[in-house]
Protein backbone atom coordinates (compact mmCIF):
# COMPACT_ATOMS: atom_id res chain seq x y z
CA UNK A 1 0.00 0.00 0.00
CA UNK A 2 1.13 3.53 -0.74
CA UNK A 3 2.21 5.48 2.32
CA UNK A 4 -0.36 7.89 3.73
CA UNK A 5 1.54 10.89 2.48
CA UNK A 6 1.02 9.79 -1.11
CA UNK A 7 -2.69 9.62 -0.80
CA UNK A 8 -4.78 12.72 -1.17
CA UNK A 9 -7.55 11.71 1.25
CA UNK A 10 -7.72 9.08 3.95
CA UNK A 11 -10.76 8.54 6.20
CA UNK A 12 -10.30 6.13 9.12
CA UNK A 13 -13.33 5.34 11.29
CA UNK A 14 -14.84 8.75 10.69
CA UNK A 15 -18.16 9.63 12.25
CA UNK A 16 -20.07 12.82 11.86
CA UNK A 17 -23.25 14.36 13.16
CA UNK A 18 -24.50 17.89 12.71
CA UNK A 19 -24.78 19.77 15.93
CA UNK A 20 -28.53 19.73 15.63
CA UNK A 21 -29.22 16.32 14.17
CA UNK A 22 -28.57 12.63 14.33
CA UNK A 23 -25.53 10.88 12.90
CA UNK A 24 -25.11 11.37 9.15
CA UNK A 25 -21.86 9.58 8.39
CA UNK A 26 -19.94 6.64 9.74
CA UNK A 27 -17.18 5.67 7.32
CA UNK A 28 -14.57 3.11 8.33
CA UNK A 29 -12.33 3.56 5.35
CA UNK A 30 -12.31 5.90 2.38
CA UNK A 31 -9.27 6.88 0.31
CA UNK A 32 -8.33 8.89 -2.73
CA UNK A 33 -4.90 8.41 -4.27
CA UNK A 34 -2.74 11.25 -5.50
CA UNK A 35 -3.87 12.21 -8.98
CA UNK A 36 -6.81 9.84 -8.75
CA UNK A 37 -10.22 10.75 -10.13
CA UNK A 38 -12.97 9.43 -7.89
CA UNK A 39 -16.68 9.46 -8.67
CA UNK A 40 -18.89 9.52 -5.56
CA UNK A 41 -22.61 8.86 -5.85
CA UNK A 42 -25.59 8.22 -3.63
CA UNK A 43 -29.18 9.27 -3.21
CA UNK A 44 -30.16 12.71 -2.11
CA UNK A 45 -29.69 13.22 1.58
CA UNK A 46 -27.24 10.35 1.87
CA UNK A 47 -24.50 12.66 3.08
CA UNK A 48 -22.40 13.37 0.00
CA UNK A 49 -22.11 17.11 0.60
CA UNK A 50 -21.44 16.39 4.24
CA UNK A 51 -18.53 14.12 3.33
CA UNK A 52 -17.11 16.83 1.08
CA UNK A 53 -17.37 19.25 4.01
CA UNK A 54 -15.28 16.87 6.08
CA UNK A 55 -12.67 16.57 3.33
CA UNK A 56 -12.55 20.31 2.90
CA UNK A 57 -12.16 20.76 6.65
CA UNK A 58 -15.24 22.95 6.98
CA UNK A 59 -16.91 20.38 9.19
CA UNK A 60 -14.88 18.76 11.94
CA UNK A 61 -15.27 14.99 12.31
CA UNK A 62 -17.16 13.98 15.45
CA UNK A 63 -14.83 10.99 15.79
CA UNK A 64 -12.09 9.33 13.78
CA UNK A 65 -9.36 10.67 11.59
CA UNK A 66 -9.57 12.66 8.39
CA UNK A 67 -6.27 13.06 6.60
CA UNK A 68 -6.08 15.35 3.61
CA UNK A 69 -2.89 15.82 1.58
CA UNK A 70 -0.80 14.35 4.32
CA UNK A 71 -2.28 16.37 7.19
CA UNK A 72 -4.64 15.13 9.86
CA UNK A 73 -7.32 17.82 9.91
CA UNK A 74 -8.23 17.03 13.51
CA UNK A 75 -4.75 18.12 14.57
CA UNK A 76 -5.06 21.50 12.93
CA UNK A 77 -6.50 24.59 14.49
CA UNK A 78 -9.65 25.88 12.75
CA UNK A 79 -7.74 28.73 11.13
CA UNK A 80 -5.11 26.30 9.88
CA UNK A 81 -7.82 24.12 8.43
CA UNK A 82 -9.28 27.14 6.63
CA UNK A 83 -5.87 28.01 5.24
CA UNK A 84 -5.21 24.42 4.26
CA UNK A 85 -8.44 24.39 2.28
CA UNK A 86 -7.82 27.79 0.76
CA UNK A 87 -4.34 26.95 -0.39
CA UNK A 88 -4.63 23.32 -1.47
CA UNK A 89 -8.23 22.65 -2.39
CA UNK A 90 -10.40 23.83 -5.25
CA UNK A 91 -14.12 23.58 -4.57
CA UNK A 92 -16.97 23.57 -7.06
CA UNK A 93 -20.60 23.87 -6.04
CA UNK A 94 -23.61 22.51 -7.81
CA UNK A 95 -25.14 25.92 -8.40
CA UNK A 96 -24.58 29.51 -7.39
CA UNK A 97 -20.85 29.24 -7.40
CA UNK A 98 -20.01 32.88 -7.89
CA UNK A 99 -19.95 35.84 -5.57
CA UNK A 100 -22.44 38.25 -7.09
CA UNK A 101 -20.68 41.45 -6.06
CA UNK A 102 -17.37 40.59 -7.69
CA UNK A 103 -16.62 40.61 -11.42
CA UNK A 104 -15.86 37.37 -13.29
CA UNK A 105 -12.16 38.16 -13.17
CA UNK A 106 -12.23 38.94 -9.45
CA UNK A 107 -14.14 35.76 -8.71
CA UNK A 108 -11.50 33.67 -10.44
CA UNK A 109 -8.63 35.41 -8.73
CA UNK A 110 -10.20 35.38 -5.25
CA UNK A 111 -8.54 32.21 -3.83
CA UNK A 112 -5.12 33.71 -4.61
CA UNK A 113 -6.08 36.98 -2.96
CA UNK A 114 -7.30 35.17 0.12
CA UNK A 115 -4.17 33.04 0.45
CA UNK A 116 -0.70 34.26 -0.34
CA UNK A 117 0.59 30.67 -0.50
CA UNK A 118 -1.86 29.92 -3.28
CA UNK A 119 -0.77 33.02 -5.11
CA UNK A 120 2.86 32.04 -4.68
CA UNK A 121 2.24 28.95 -6.73
CA UNK A 122 1.22 30.98 -9.76
CA UNK A 123 3.91 31.40 -12.42
CA UNK A 124 5.53 34.75 -11.65
CA UNK A 125 3.00 35.24 -8.87
CA UNK A 126 0.80 37.10 -11.35
CA UNK A 127 -2.91 36.64 -10.76
CA UNK A 128 -3.81 38.48 -13.97
CA UNK A 129 -1.71 36.14 -16.10
CA UNK A 130 -3.04 33.00 -14.41
CA UNK A 131 -6.62 34.22 -14.85
CA UNK A 132 -5.96 34.98 -18.52
CA UNK A 133 -4.48 31.53 -19.12
CA UNK A 134 -7.31 29.67 -17.42
CA UNK A 135 -9.89 31.82 -19.21
CA UNK A 136 -8.26 30.93 -22.50
CA UNK A 137 -8.41 27.21 -21.80
CA UNK A 138 -11.96 27.30 -20.51
CA UNK A 139 -13.07 29.54 -23.37
CA UNK A 140 -14.36 32.30 -21.11
CA UNK A 141 -12.06 35.14 -22.20
CA UNK A 142 -14.96 37.25 -23.51
CA UNK A 143 -16.74 36.86 -20.18
CA UNK A 144 -13.97 38.28 -18.01
CA UNK A 145 -15.27 41.84 -17.98
CA UNK A 146 -18.89 40.86 -17.56
CA UNK A 147 -21.03 41.00 -14.48
CA UNK A 148 -21.58 37.66 -12.81
CA UNK A 149 -25.37 37.81 -13.03
CA UNK A 150 -25.19 38.32 -16.77
CA UNK A 151 -23.77 34.82 -17.32
CA UNK A 152 -25.62 31.66 -18.31
CA UNK A 153 -25.50 28.70 -15.94
CA UNK A 154 -22.99 26.86 -18.14
CA UNK A 155 -20.79 29.96 -18.28
CA UNK A 156 -21.02 30.33 -14.52
CA UNK A 157 -19.88 26.74 -14.05
CA UNK A 158 -16.84 27.32 -16.25
CA UNK A 159 -15.95 30.47 -14.35
CA UNK A 160 -16.33 28.51 -11.11
CA UNK A 161 -14.08 25.79 -12.53
CA UNK A 162 -11.45 28.41 -13.34
CA UNK A 163 -11.63 29.63 -9.75
CA UNK A 164 -11.36 26.07 -8.39
CA UNK A 165 -8.37 25.35 -10.61
CA UNK A 166 -6.35 28.54 -10.24
CA UNK A 167 -3.03 28.03 -8.54
CA UNK A 168 -3.13 24.28 -9.31
CA UNK A 169 -4.68 23.00 -6.06
CA UNK A 170 -3.66 19.47 -5.18
CA UNK A 171 -7.24 18.37 -4.61
CA UNK A 172 -10.29 19.44 -6.57
CA UNK A 173 -13.70 18.78 -5.04
CA UNK A 174 -16.80 19.09 -7.17
CA UNK A 175 -20.32 18.81 -5.72
CA UNK A 176 -22.66 18.00 -8.61
CA UNK A 177 -21.23 20.73 -10.82
CA UNK A 178 -23.00 19.50 -13.95
CA UNK A 179 -26.50 18.84 -12.70
CA UNK A 180 -27.83 22.12 -14.04
CA UNK A 181 -26.33 21.98 -17.51
CA UNK A 182 -27.27 19.98 -20.60
CA UNK A 183 -25.55 16.76 -21.69
CA UNK A 184 -23.42 18.23 -24.45
CA UNK A 185 -22.15 21.03 -22.24
CA UNK A 186 -21.68 18.60 -19.37
CA UNK A 187 -19.37 16.32 -21.37
CA UNK A 188 -17.20 19.19 -22.53
CA UNK A 189 -17.10 20.56 -18.99
CA UNK A 190 -15.92 17.23 -17.58
CA UNK A 191 -13.26 16.95 -20.29
CA UNK A 192 -11.98 20.38 -19.34
CA UNK A 193 -11.93 19.47 -15.68
CA UNK A 194 -10.05 16.28 -16.38
CA UNK A 195 -7.45 17.90 -18.57
CA UNK A 196 -6.81 20.68 -16.08
CA UNK A 197 -6.51 18.25 -13.18
CA UNK A 198 -4.18 16.07 -15.16
CA UNK A 199 -1.99 19.02 -16.07
CA UNK A 200 -1.75 20.15 -12.45
CA UNK A 201 -1.50 16.61 -11.11
CA UNK A 202 -4.54 17.28 -8.92
CA UNK A 203 -6.71 14.59 -7.42
CA UNK A 204 -10.42 14.89 -8.16
CA UNK A 205 -13.38 14.03 -5.98
CA UNK A 206 -16.50 14.37 -8.06
CA UNK A 207 -20.01 13.96 -6.66
CA UNK A 208 -22.98 13.27 -8.89
CA UNK A 209 -26.30 11.50 -9.09
CA UNK A 210 -25.66 10.78 -12.73
CA UNK A 211 -24.21 7.28 -12.86
CA UNK A 212 -23.65 7.49 -16.61
CA UNK A 213 -20.62 9.65 -15.86
CA UNK A 214 -18.97 7.15 -13.59
CA UNK A 215 -17.28 5.17 -16.39
CA UNK A 216 -14.96 8.05 -17.17
CA UNK A 217 -13.46 8.11 -13.70
CA UNK A 218 -10.65 6.00 -12.28
CA UNK A 219 -12.95 4.71 -9.60
CA UNK A 220 -16.59 4.95 -8.60
CA UNK A 221 -17.70 4.87 -4.98
CA UNK A 222 -21.24 4.52 -3.69
CA UNK A 223 -21.64 6.43 -0.46
CA UNK A 224 -24.36 4.16 1.01
CA UNK A 225 -21.95 1.25 0.44
CA UNK A 226 -19.24 2.74 2.63
CA UNK A 227 -21.51 4.58 5.08
CA UNK A 228 -22.71 2.47 7.98
CA UNK A 229 -25.39 5.01 8.82
CA UNK A 230 -28.44 4.17 6.75
CA UNK A 231 -30.77 6.95 5.90
Amino acid sequence: MTPTAERAVVFSDVRFRYRTGSEVLSVDRFEIGTGERVFLHGPSGSGKTTLLGLVAGVLPATAGRVEVLGRALGDLRPSERDAHRGVHIGYLFQLFNLIPWLSVEENIGLPCRLHAARRARLPGGSIERAVAQLAERLAIVPLLGQRVNELSVGQQQRVAAARALIGAPRLVIADEPTSAIDTDLRDRFIELLFSQCAEAGSSLLFVSHDLSLSARFDRSVSLPAINRVTA
Partner: protein, 423 residues
Protein backbone atom coordinates in the same frame (compact mmCIF):
# COMPACT_ATOMS: atom_id res chain seq x y z
CA UNK B 1 -6.55 44.77 3.13
CA UNK B 2 -8.80 42.19 1.54
CA UNK B 3 -11.63 42.49 4.04
CA UNK B 4 -12.19 46.23 3.43
CA UNK B 5 -12.07 45.74 -0.33
CA UNK B 6 -14.53 42.89 -0.22
CA UNK B 7 -16.85 44.72 2.17
CA UNK B 8 -16.83 47.82 -0.02
CA UNK B 9 -17.53 45.80 -3.16
CA UNK B 10 -20.38 44.08 -1.42
CA UNK B 11 -21.86 47.40 -0.29
CA UNK B 12 -21.39 48.90 -3.75
CA UNK B 13 -23.34 45.98 -5.17
CA UNK B 14 -26.30 46.88 -2.97
CA UNK B 15 -26.18 50.57 -3.75
CA UNK B 16 -29.77 51.46 -3.04
CA UNK B 17 -30.02 49.67 0.29
CA UNK B 18 -26.59 51.04 1.25
CA UNK B 19 -27.48 54.62 0.45
CA UNK B 20 -30.78 54.37 2.27
CA UNK B 21 -29.07 53.03 5.36
CA UNK B 22 -26.39 55.72 5.18
CA UNK B 23 -29.08 58.35 4.68
CA UNK B 24 -31.02 57.22 7.72
CA UNK B 25 -27.91 57.32 9.89
CA UNK B 26 -26.88 60.64 8.37
CA UNK B 27 -30.28 62.04 9.21
CA UNK B 28 -30.05 61.06 12.84
CA UNK B 29 -26.47 62.29 13.12
CA UNK B 30 -27.45 65.55 11.45
CA UNK B 31 -30.20 65.98 13.98
CA UNK B 32 -27.91 65.22 16.89
CA UNK B 33 -25.10 67.45 15.65
CA UNK B 34 -27.56 70.07 14.49
CA UNK B 35 -29.26 70.30 17.86
CA UNK B 36 -25.88 70.52 19.54
CA UNK B 37 -24.54 73.13 17.13
CA UNK B 38 -27.68 75.23 17.38
CA UNK B 39 -27.62 74.88 21.14
CA UNK B 40 -24.02 76.00 21.26
CA UNK B 41 -24.67 78.69 18.68
CA UNK B 42 -27.59 80.09 20.61
CA UNK B 43 -25.67 79.90 23.86
CA UNK B 44 -22.73 81.72 22.36
CA UNK B 45 -25.06 84.25 20.81
CA UNK B 46 -26.70 84.65 24.20
CA UNK B 47 -23.37 84.93 26.00
CA UNK B 48 -22.48 87.65 23.52
CA UNK B 49 -25.51 89.79 24.37
CA UNK B 50 -23.26 92.23 26.16
CA UNK B 51 -19.51 92.45 25.80
CA UNK B 52 -16.83 94.86 26.79
CA UNK B 53 -18.75 95.86 29.91
CA UNK B 54 -16.92 94.53 32.94
CA UNK B 55 -19.48 95.33 35.59
CA UNK B 56 -23.15 96.13 35.84
CA UNK B 57 -24.07 97.87 39.07
CA UNK B 58 -27.51 98.50 40.49
CA UNK B 59 -29.39 98.82 43.76
CA UNK B 60 -28.97 95.92 46.16
CA UNK B 61 -30.94 92.93 44.86
CA UNK B 62 -30.58 89.64 43.05
CA UNK B 63 -27.91 89.42 40.41
CA UNK B 64 -30.26 87.73 37.94
CA UNK B 65 -32.81 90.46 38.55
CA UNK B 66 -30.19 93.10 37.81
CA UNK B 67 -29.06 91.33 34.65
CA UNK B 68 -32.59 90.71 33.41
CA UNK B 69 -33.78 94.24 34.05
CA UNK B 70 -30.71 96.12 32.86
CA UNK B 71 -29.71 94.01 29.84
CA UNK B 72 -32.83 92.14 28.74
CA UNK B 73 -35.48 94.56 29.86
CA UNK B 74 -37.34 91.83 31.70
CA UNK B 75 -38.96 92.49 35.09
CA UNK B 76 -38.39 95.57 37.16
CA UNK B 77 -35.15 96.66 38.78
CA UNK B 78 -34.66 96.19 42.53
CA UNK B 79 -34.51 99.90 43.11
CA UNK B 80 -32.45 102.93 42.33
CA UNK B 81 -29.15 104.40 43.36
CA UNK B 82 -28.35 108.01 44.01
CA UNK B 83 -26.54 110.08 41.47
CA UNK B 84 -24.00 110.83 44.14
CA UNK B 85 -23.16 107.17 44.57
CA UNK B 86 -22.88 106.82 40.82
CA UNK B 87 -20.51 109.77 40.62
CA UNK B 88 -18.43 108.46 43.48
CA UNK B 89 -17.89 105.10 41.77
CA UNK B 90 -17.29 106.59 38.36
CA UNK B 91 -14.34 108.44 39.85
CA UNK B 92 -12.88 105.26 41.34
CA UNK B 93 -9.27 104.78 40.28
CA UNK B 94 -9.82 101.29 38.91
CA UNK B 95 -12.72 102.36 36.71
CA UNK B 96 -12.14 103.54 33.17
CA UNK B 97 -15.66 104.47 32.15
CA UNK B 98 -19.23 104.35 33.37
CA UNK B 99 -22.57 104.75 31.65
CA UNK B 100 -25.67 105.52 33.72
CA UNK B 101 -28.95 103.85 32.89
CA UNK B 102 -32.39 104.91 34.00
CA UNK B 103 -35.24 102.46 33.56
CA UNK B 104 -38.89 102.34 34.47
CA UNK B 105 -40.86 103.69 31.55
CA UNK B 106 -42.03 102.12 28.35
CA UNK B 107 -43.38 103.02 24.99
CA UNK B 108 -46.17 100.74 23.72
CA UNK B 109 -44.66 97.70 25.38
CA UNK B 110 -41.05 98.51 24.58
CA UNK B 111 -38.93 99.62 27.47
CA UNK B 112 -37.37 102.99 27.68
CA UNK B 113 -33.71 103.39 28.51
CA UNK B 114 -32.50 106.72 29.70
CA UNK B 115 -28.78 106.95 29.21
CA UNK B 116 -25.99 109.08 27.81
CA UNK B 117 -24.93 109.16 24.17
CA UNK B 118 -21.81 107.33 25.26
CA UNK B 119 -23.91 104.17 25.64
CA UNK B 120 -23.86 103.65 21.87
CA UNK B 121 -20.11 104.04 21.76
CA UNK B 122 -19.38 101.64 24.58
CA UNK B 123 -21.97 98.95 24.10
CA UNK B 124 -20.54 95.84 22.38
CA UNK B 125 -22.18 92.54 21.54
CA UNK B 126 -20.76 89.23 20.34
CA UNK B 127 -17.46 89.61 18.50
CA UNK B 128 -16.92 93.32 18.80
CA UNK B 129 -20.33 94.12 17.34
CA UNK B 130 -21.24 97.80 17.63
CA UNK B 131 -24.52 99.61 17.63
CA UNK B 132 -24.92 101.42 14.35
CA UNK B 133 -27.58 103.70 12.97
CA UNK B 134 -29.87 102.55 10.22
CA UNK B 135 -31.04 106.10 9.74
CA UNK B 136 -31.06 109.44 11.52
CA UNK B 137 -28.70 110.40 14.30
CA UNK B 138 -27.93 109.47 17.92
CA UNK B 139 -29.17 111.18 21.06
CA UNK B 140 -28.37 114.81 21.78
CA UNK B 141 -31.21 116.84 23.29
CA UNK B 142 -33.81 116.03 25.91
CA UNK B 143 -36.55 115.49 23.33
CA UNK B 144 -34.51 113.11 21.24
CA UNK B 145 -35.52 109.50 21.02
CA UNK B 146 -33.67 106.66 19.31
CA UNK B 147 -35.36 103.34 18.67
CA UNK B 148 -34.12 99.80 18.12
CA UNK B 149 -34.78 98.08 14.82
CA UNK B 150 -37.56 95.86 16.10
CA UNK B 151 -39.36 98.78 17.70
CA UNK B 152 -39.25 100.62 14.40
CA UNK B 153 -40.49 97.61 12.51
CA UNK B 154 -43.25 96.51 14.85
CA UNK B 155 -44.64 99.97 15.50
CA UNK B 156 -43.94 101.25 12.01
CA UNK B 157 -42.20 104.29 13.45
CA UNK B 158 -40.34 106.65 11.19
CA UNK B 159 -37.97 109.50 11.79
CA UNK B 160 -39.43 112.76 13.06
CA UNK B 161 -42.51 111.09 14.58
CA UNK B 162 -43.52 112.73 17.84
CA UNK B 163 -44.50 110.33 20.62
CA UNK B 164 -45.54 110.34 24.28
CA UNK B 165 -44.03 107.79 26.63
CA UNK B 166 -45.88 105.64 29.15
CA UNK B 167 -45.20 105.99 32.80
CA UNK B 168 -44.48 102.53 34.14
CA UNK B 169 -43.57 99.37 32.38
CA UNK B 170 -46.92 97.96 31.31
CA UNK B 171 -49.78 99.12 29.21
CA UNK B 172 -50.26 102.32 27.34
CA UNK B 173 -52.37 105.39 27.50
CA UNK B 174 -53.11 105.03 31.20
CA UNK B 175 -50.55 107.51 32.31
CA UNK B 176 -48.89 108.87 29.22
CA UNK B 177 -46.49 111.66 29.84
CA UNK B 178 -48.04 113.59 27.04
CA UNK B 179 -46.94 116.93 28.31
CA UNK B 180 -43.45 115.99 27.19
CA UNK B 181 -43.30 114.70 23.65
CA UNK B 182 -40.24 113.03 22.21
CA UNK B 183 -39.22 112.97 18.57
CA UNK B 184 -37.70 109.97 16.86
CA UNK B 185 -34.30 111.16 15.68
CA UNK B 186 -32.57 107.85 14.99
CA UNK B 187 -33.34 104.25 14.14
CA UNK B 188 -30.72 101.64 14.98
CA UNK B 189 -29.58 98.81 12.74
CA UNK B 190 -30.51 95.28 13.91
CA UNK B 191 -28.16 93.79 16.49
CA UNK B 192 -30.11 90.64 17.44
CA UNK B 193 -29.76 91.71 21.06
CA UNK B 194 -32.30 93.31 23.43
CA UNK B 195 -31.12 96.67 22.05
CA UNK B 196 -33.44 96.03 19.11
CA UNK B 197 -36.40 96.06 21.48
CA UNK B 198 -35.38 99.21 23.30
CA UNK B 199 -36.21 102.87 23.08
CA UNK B 200 -33.44 105.26 24.07
CA UNK B 201 -33.66 108.75 25.46
CA UNK B 202 -31.24 110.95 27.33
CA UNK B 203 -31.25 111.17 31.12
CA UNK B 204 -32.34 114.76 30.71
CA UNK B 205 -35.27 113.49 28.68
CA UNK B 206 -36.29 111.19 31.51
CA UNK B 207 -36.08 114.07 33.97
CA UNK B 208 -38.05 116.41 31.73
CA UNK B 209 -40.67 113.75 31.25
CA UNK B 210 -41.26 113.50 34.96
CA UNK B 211 -41.43 117.22 35.61
CA UNK B 212 -45.20 117.16 35.71
CA UNK B 213 -47.77 118.20 38.26
CA UNK B 214 -46.69 116.87 41.63
CA UNK B 215 -49.93 115.20 42.66
CA UNK B 216 -50.10 112.93 39.64
CA UNK B 217 -46.55 112.00 40.21
CA UNK B 218 -47.02 111.14 43.85
CA UNK B 219 -50.06 109.07 43.13
CA UNK B 220 -48.18 107.24 40.44
CA UNK B 221 -45.24 106.58 42.57
CA UNK B 222 -47.41 105.15 45.30
CA UNK B 223 -49.07 102.79 42.85
CA UNK B 224 -45.87 101.47 41.51
CA UNK B 225 -44.33 101.11 44.88
CA UNK B 226 -47.14 98.69 45.61
CA UNK B 227 -46.69 96.74 42.43
CA UNK B 228 -42.96 96.34 42.55
CA UNK B 229 -42.57 96.20 46.31
CA UNK B 230 -39.63 98.52 46.06
CA UNK B 231 -39.00 102.15 45.32
CA UNK B 232 -39.01 102.81 41.63
CA UNK B 233 -36.05 103.49 39.49
CA UNK B 234 -36.64 107.01 38.56
CA UNK B 235 -38.01 109.20 41.26
CA UNK B 236 -36.33 112.15 39.63
CA UNK B 237 -37.44 115.53 40.58
CA UNK B 238 -36.29 118.65 38.91
CA UNK B 239 -32.68 117.58 39.20
CA UNK B 240 -31.26 114.28 38.11
CA UNK B 241 -30.94 112.70 41.50
CA UNK B 242 -31.05 108.97 40.92
CA UNK B 243 -30.48 106.32 38.26
CA UNK B 244 -31.30 102.62 38.05
CA UNK B 245 -27.94 101.12 37.23
CA UNK B 246 -24.70 101.79 35.49
CA UNK B 247 -22.39 99.90 33.19
CA UNK B 248 -18.70 100.12 33.94
CA UNK B 249 -15.42 99.31 32.25
CA UNK B 250 -12.34 98.80 34.34
CA UNK B 251 -8.83 100.08 33.75
CA UNK B 252 -7.70 96.51 34.00
CA UNK B 253 -9.92 93.48 33.43
CA UNK B 254 -8.34 91.64 36.31
CA UNK B 255 -9.60 94.22 38.75
CA UNK B 256 -13.25 93.45 37.96
CA UNK B 257 -13.54 90.79 40.60
CA UNK B 258 -12.00 92.97 43.30
CA UNK B 259 -14.19 95.88 42.32
CA UNK B 260 -17.27 93.70 42.38
CA UNK B 261 -16.50 92.70 45.95
CA UNK B 262 -15.79 96.28 46.92
CA UNK B 263 -19.12 97.45 45.54
CA UNK B 264 -21.12 94.59 46.99
CA UNK B 265 -19.75 95.23 50.46
CA UNK B 266 -19.84 99.01 50.38
CA UNK B 267 -21.87 100.40 53.26
CA UNK B 268 -22.53 103.91 52.03
CA UNK B 269 -25.29 102.70 49.73
CA UNK B 270 -26.15 99.01 49.33
CA UNK B 271 -25.37 97.95 45.77
CA UNK B 272 -25.23 94.81 43.72
CA UNK B 273 -22.48 94.51 41.11
CA UNK B 274 -22.39 91.69 38.61
CA UNK B 275 -19.89 90.49 36.05
CA UNK B 276 -22.04 90.27 32.91
CA UNK B 277 -20.21 87.25 31.46
CA UNK B 278 -20.62 85.28 34.68
CA UNK B 279 -24.22 86.34 35.20
CA UNK B 280 -25.10 85.47 31.59
CA UNK B 281 -23.67 81.98 32.01
CA UNK B 282 -25.59 81.54 35.25
CA UNK B 283 -28.78 82.69 33.61
CA UNK B 284 -28.24 80.35 30.68
CA UNK B 285 -27.60 77.42 32.93
CA UNK B 286 -30.74 78.11 34.87
CA UNK B 287 -32.84 77.82 31.71
CA UNK B 288 -30.71 75.10 30.10
CA UNK B 289 -32.91 72.18 31.12
CA UNK B 290 -34.97 72.89 28.01
CA UNK B 291 -32.04 71.87 25.85
CA UNK B 292 -31.81 68.52 27.56
CA UNK B 293 -35.18 67.61 26.10
CA UNK B 294 -33.93 68.30 22.59
CA UNK B 295 -30.80 66.29 23.30
CA UNK B 296 -32.81 63.34 24.52
CA UNK B 297 -35.02 63.38 21.45
CA UNK B 298 -32.11 63.54 19.02
CA UNK B 299 -30.36 60.78 20.94
CA UNK B 300 -33.46 58.63 20.55
CA UNK B 301 -33.52 59.40 16.84
CA UNK B 302 -29.91 58.28 16.58
CA UNK B 303 -30.80 55.06 18.33
CA UNK B 304 -33.56 54.48 15.80
CA UNK B 305 -31.08 55.12 12.98
CA UNK B 306 -28.66 52.56 14.38
CA UNK B 307 -31.45 50.04 14.86
CA UNK B 308 -32.42 50.64 11.24
CA UNK B 309 -28.89 49.75 10.24
CA UNK B 310 -29.06 46.62 12.36
CA UNK B 311 -32.26 45.58 10.64
CA UNK B 312 -30.81 46.35 7.21
CA UNK B 313 -27.68 44.28 7.89
CA UNK B 314 -29.54 41.50 9.57
CA UNK B 315 -32.12 41.11 6.84
CA UNK B 316 -29.40 40.62 4.21
CA UNK B 317 -27.91 37.75 6.19
CA UNK B 318 -30.27 35.03 4.95
CA UNK B 319 -29.83 35.88 1.30
CA UNK B 320 -26.09 36.12 1.79
CA UNK B 321 -25.67 32.69 3.32
CA UNK B 322 -24.83 31.32 -0.12
CA UNK B 323 -22.13 33.87 -0.58
CA UNK B 324 -20.78 33.00 2.85
CA UNK B 325 -20.61 29.29 1.92
CA UNK B 326 -18.65 30.18 -1.21
CA UNK B 327 -16.21 32.27 0.79
CA UNK B 328 -15.91 29.39 3.26
CA UNK B 329 -15.11 26.98 0.43
CA UNK B 330 -12.38 29.35 -0.70
CA UNK B 331 -10.73 29.14 2.69
CA UNK B 332 -12.18 32.20 4.38
CA UNK B 333 -12.52 31.50 8.10
CA UNK B 334 -15.68 32.27 10.04
CA UNK B 335 -13.82 35.17 11.54
CA UNK B 336 -13.14 36.70 8.16
CA UNK B 337 -16.82 36.36 7.35
CA UNK B 338 -17.83 38.02 10.61
CA UNK B 339 -15.31 40.80 10.12
CA UNK B 340 -16.70 41.49 6.66
CA UNK B 341 -20.04 42.29 8.25
CA UNK B 342 -18.55 44.35 11.04
CA UNK B 343 -16.56 46.28 8.49
CA UNK B 344 -19.69 46.87 6.46
CA UNK B 345 -21.53 48.28 9.43
CA UNK B 346 -18.47 50.38 10.28
CA UNK B 347 -18.41 51.84 6.78
CA UNK B 348 -22.15 52.49 6.86
CA UNK B 349 -22.02 54.27 10.18
CA UNK B 350 -18.87 56.23 9.35
CA UNK B 351 -20.33 57.35 6.02
CA UNK B 352 -23.58 58.23 7.79
CA UNK B 353 -21.75 60.14 10.51
CA UNK B 354 -19.69 62.22 8.08
CA UNK B 355 -22.62 62.87 5.76
CA UNK B 356 -24.81 63.79 8.72
CA UNK B 357 -22.24 66.21 10.09
CA UNK B 358 -21.80 67.85 6.70
CA UNK B 359 -25.55 68.10 6.26
CA UNK B 360 -26.03 69.61 9.72
CA UNK B 361 -23.49 72.35 9.07
CA UNK B 362 -24.79 72.99 5.57
CA UNK B 363 -28.29 73.46 6.95
CA UNK B 364 -27.11 75.69 9.80
CA UNK B 365 -25.03 77.89 7.51
CA UNK B 366 -27.85 78.10 4.99
CA UNK B 367 -30.57 78.50 7.61
CA UNK B 368 -29.10 80.92 10.07
CA UNK B 369 -30.19 83.86 7.93
CA UNK B 370 -33.76 82.67 8.31
CA UNK B 371 -33.35 82.15 12.06
CA UNK B 372 -31.97 85.68 12.26
CA UNK B 373 -34.81 87.27 10.32
CA UNK B 374 -37.74 85.21 11.52
CA UNK B 375 -36.84 84.60 15.14
CA UNK B 376 -34.21 87.23 15.88
CA UNK B 377 -31.89 84.49 17.11
CA UNK B 378 -28.22 84.73 16.44
CA UNK B 379 -26.57 81.36 15.78
CA UNK B 380 -22.83 81.36 16.00
CA UNK B 381 -21.35 78.87 13.53
CA UNK B 382 -18.40 77.31 15.28
CA UNK B 383 -16.09 74.53 14.10
CA UNK B 384 -17.15 71.13 15.43
CA UNK B 385 -16.28 70.98 19.11
CA UNK B 386 -15.20 68.05 21.23
CA UNK B 387 -18.79 67.02 21.76
CA UNK B 388 -19.46 66.79 18.01
CA UNK B 389 -16.30 64.77 17.45
CA UNK B 390 -17.28 62.58 20.35
CA UNK B 391 -20.67 62.06 18.72
CA UNK B 392 -19.00 61.11 15.44
CA UNK B 393 -16.68 58.63 17.06
CA UNK B 394 -19.53 57.37 19.22
CA UNK B 395 -21.70 56.77 16.16
CA UNK B 396 -18.96 54.82 14.39
CA UNK B 397 -18.25 52.76 17.51
CA UNK B 398 -21.97 52.16 18.01
CA UNK B 399 -22.18 51.16 14.33
CA UNK B 400 -19.40 48.63 14.80
CA UNK B 401 -21.13 47.28 17.89
CA UNK B 402 -24.42 47.04 16.03
CA UNK B 403 -22.59 45.13 13.28
CA UNK B 404 -21.39 42.58 15.85
CA UNK B 405 -24.80 40.96 16.14
CA UNK B 406 -25.26 40.02 12.47
CA UNK B 407 -21.55 39.22 12.36
CA UNK B 408 -21.97 36.82 15.24
CA UNK B 409 -24.93 35.25 13.46
CA UNK B 410 -22.88 34.90 10.27
CA UNK B 411 -20.06 33.36 12.28
CA UNK B 412 -22.43 30.81 13.76
CA UNK B 413 -23.95 30.07 10.36
CA UNK B 414 -20.54 29.62 8.80
CA UNK B 415 -19.70 27.00 11.39
CA UNK B 416 -23.05 25.25 11.24
CA UNK B 417 -23.82 25.33 7.53
CA UNK B 418 -20.77 23.47 6.28
CA UNK B 419 -20.80 23.68 2.54
CA UNK B 420 -24.50 23.28 2.17
CA UNK B 421 -25.54 26.13 -0.04
CA UNK B 422 -28.87 27.24 1.29
CA UNK B 423 -31.29 29.13 -0.85
Amino acid sequence: MLTPTLALRSLANRRLATSLTVASIALSVALLVGVEAVRRGVREGFAGTIRNTDLIVGARGGSQQLLLSSVFGIGSPAGSMTWKTYERWSKHAAIAWTIPISLGDSYRGFRLIGTTPEFFERYRFRDDGRITLASGRLLAGESDLVIGSMVAERLGLRLDTAIAVTHGLRGEGIADHDHHLFTVVGILAPTLTPVDRSVFVTLEGITAMHEDPEEEHEEDRANRKDAAGAPQAHSHDAEQESITAFLAGTQNRFESLGLQREMNTDVTEPLTAILPAVALTELWNSIAYAEDGAQIISGAVLLVGLLGMLVALYSTLEERRREMAILRSLGAGPRRIASLLVFESGVLSAAGAVAGMAAAYAVIIAGRGVAEQRFGVWIQVAAPGTLEWAYLIGVVVAGLLVGLLPAWRAYRNALADGLTVRL
